[in-house]
């Protein structure tokens, strides 16, 4: 019984995180200016990282944790590079 309720809670939170990713994707597609799109990308990778963490809880494997850590690292580098590009017009001067 508790296992069923836990499975329902995890699946519900995965659906909620999927909706959050869809909202961030909407902001990427419709953002009025470039900085809004970068902001949407930031929210998108954070929600995707959380989705991977919930998959890790669901299956009980630590493989997903490493994938989530890589997403956090690469997403940070990507957002910083895009902000730098918006500021200066080039990433590496």
């Amino acid at each position: 019984m508790t296992q069923f309720l836990l499975a329902m809670a995890i699946t519900t939170s995965q659906v909620i995180l999927g909706v959050a990713m869809a909202g961030a994707a909407f902001r990427i597609l419709s953002g009025p200016r470039a900085q809004d799109r970068v902001l949407g990308l930031d929210a998108l990778y954070l929600a995707g990282m959380l989705l991977l963490l919930t998959y890790g809880i669901q299956t009980g494997r630590t493989l997903f944790f490493e994938a989530a850590l890589v997403i956090a690292l690469v997403g940070f580098a990507g957002t910083v590079a895009l902000a730098k590009f918006l500021m200066r017009g080039e990433v590496i001067e």
Binding site: T2, A20, R27, L39, T54, Q58, F76
Partner: protein, 113 residues
């Protein structure tokens, strides 16, 4: 599709509540990102929502793996430290870039110094 780890009742309660709480807070942050009016309003919700959501989901993940492996598993703290440190940095850089672009193009309603 709906499977779950075999946890005792108290651990299942903590894991379920925190996973739902984290996902809901993240969704609230993204709703703020969609609905707020100007860019300088929209900068704030993706910093606050997903950071607190990450903290909640990491608490449930730490509880789940610590109970499953019956030893303290705290490597999730890496993600918590990383997200908490980097999210303000990225969004501050982004806000500065947006401010620079808006001032150069003389967009009205730009925040002053």
């Amino acid at each position: 599709m709906s499977q779950a780890p075999d946890l005792p009742a108290w651990a299942a309660l903590i894991v379920g509540i925190f996973v739902l709480l984290g996902a809901s807070i993240t969704l609230i942050g993204v709703i703020g990102l969609i609905r707020l009016g100007s860019f300088y309003d929209r900068v704030h919700p993706p910093t606050l929502g997903p950071t607190l959501g990450t903290a909640c989901i990491l608490v449930s993940s730490i509880t789940c793996f610590s109970v499953l492996q019956s030893r303290p598993v705290v490597h999730e703290i890496l993600i918590a430290v990383f997200v908490t440190l980097t999210t303000p940095v990225t969004l501050m850089l982004l806000a500065r870039a947006a401010l620079y672009r808006d001032r150069r193009e003389d967009v009205p309603d730009v925040p002053r110094d």
